[in-house]
């Protein structure tokens, strides 16, 4: 994908990539909080539905 091309320093591009990296980390943390809150009840609901079907 990249090979041996050597990038030169460009503050504006660095800021652009920094924004993408920051968004990724913020989303990872944010969705992680949602996962901890929603995950266990969701798994319990899946299990309950199985017992209900049986």
């Amino acid at each position: 994908m990249v090979g041996l091309s050597v990038p030169t320093w460009d503050p504006q591009t660095a800021l652009l990539i920094g924004v993408i990296l920051a968004e990724a980390v913020v989303l990872y943390v944010g969705y992680g909080v949602i996962e901890r809150v929603v995950g266990p009840p969701l798994v319990r609901a899946i299990r309950r539905r199985r017992r209900h079907v049986e």
Partner: protein
């Protein structure tokens, strides 16, 4: 001021919703397989009318962001081998340059486009068939007796395991030379085909190095963080990264990547292989149809190729979710007292 500095412009709400939904689907596949980002996003952006530079650059920036998220999740699950990742990055980087050189040589002969298309389709199809067939045999004893390695990896380890050796996650002891050779070979193919190469590296790590499937996915994603980051930077310098595309795509893929990554810890390895193989076979058919359309100048066939690959992506992503639900229920059936 910030929007001007970063080159952000207004986008229609319908397009934003489309990007978030598409990001979710690609994120699930990316987290589950460690591949499939640029394979799906760049052609879709081209179809939406974005210039090639923006489609490739934004697709790469999206892959970079999604790889960061998926790698963090796999790392939480203990599925990233950083030593293997660093060795693979070094070998792949050199391999890509060798692959590029071979493309330039073929271009000088006027044969590049045709040969690359044929090799791409054959490779996608062949790896897809190999992985699917192996997964179907999973219930039978296909693993070698020594260390539970796949037969190909067991043969390579028995004949080529020269020192120095390192210990990888999953208690796999392997020669650094084997890793270097695999990284060079997969990098060459990646550079030759002009693709990220996750669909080549992931099975290569499983079948040639002998890494467990979830670790192969996690380590491949770790490698993509670096290649995607540098690639995004290079495209960003020439104005090829559009945040109005990348930000909503990431919004969806961040959730998808968490779901896909977590699914690798729930669905068994054979299940991962079956979905991976089917995705590659569908991709081979779609690329073949698209390339045929390009060769014959039939735009409808090119569009059909894209619709096929996106349709397959949606079906496979939905299949992964269903598989997760079924696995949770099956485990609950085995342990009725749990939960």
């Amino acid at each position: 001021m910030w929007s001007e500095l970063l080159g952000v412009t207004a986008v229609e709400p319908a397009l934003l919703v489309l990007f978030v939904g598409f990001g979710l689907v690609v994120g699930i596949l990316f987290g589950f397989f460690g591949m499939g980002g640029s394979f799906l996003v760049t052609p879709a952006l081209l179809m939406l009318g974005y210039p090639a530079r923006v489609a490739v650059g934004s697709g790469m920036a999206f892959v970079f962001g999604t790889a960061v998220i998926a790698t963090l999740k796999h790392s939480d699950l203990g599925q990233v081998d950083y030593r293997l990742g660093v060795l693979m990055i070094a070998g792949t980087t050199v391999g890509i340059e060798l692959g590029r050189a071979s493309v330039l040589y073929l271009e000088s002969l006027g044969l590049a486009a045709g040969i690359i298309s044929v090799v791409y389709v054959l490779l996608l199809g062949a790896i897809g068939v190999l992985v699917t067939r192996d997964a179907h045999r999973g219930s039978r004893p296909t693993l070698a007796a020594d260390g539970g390695l796949p037969p190909a990896a067991a043969w390579i380890h028995a004949h080529l395991n020269l020192p120095p050796r390192i210990r990888l996650r999953g208690d796999v002891h392997v020669s650094v030379w084997i890793i270097t050779a695999v990284a060079l070979a997969t990098g060459m193919l990646s550079g030759f085909l002009g693709v990220g190469g996750g669909f080549i590296r992931m099975p290569a790590m499983i079948y040639a190095i002998g890494v467990p499937v979830p670790v192969a996915v996690g380590t491949d994603l770790f490698e993509i963080v670096f290649s995607g980051g540098i690639g995004s930077y290079l495209y960003g310098q020439s104005g090829g990264v559009d945040l109005t595309i990348v930000v909503p795509l990431l919004l969806g893929s961040a959730l998808g990547a968490r779901i896909g990554s977590a699914a690798t810890a729930i669905v068994d390895a054979e299940g991962i292989k079956i979905y991976f193989g089917l995705m590659l076979i569908a991709g081979a058919v779609a690329v073949a149809v698209g390339e045929l359309g390009g060769l014959l100048g039939v735009v409808l066939l090119e569009q059909l190729g894209l619709v096929l690959v996106i349709g397959a992506a949606v079906v496979v992503a939905a299949g992964i979710i269903v598989q997760v639900v079924l696995t949770i229920r099956a485990r609950d059936g085995q342990h009725p007292g749990s939960g």
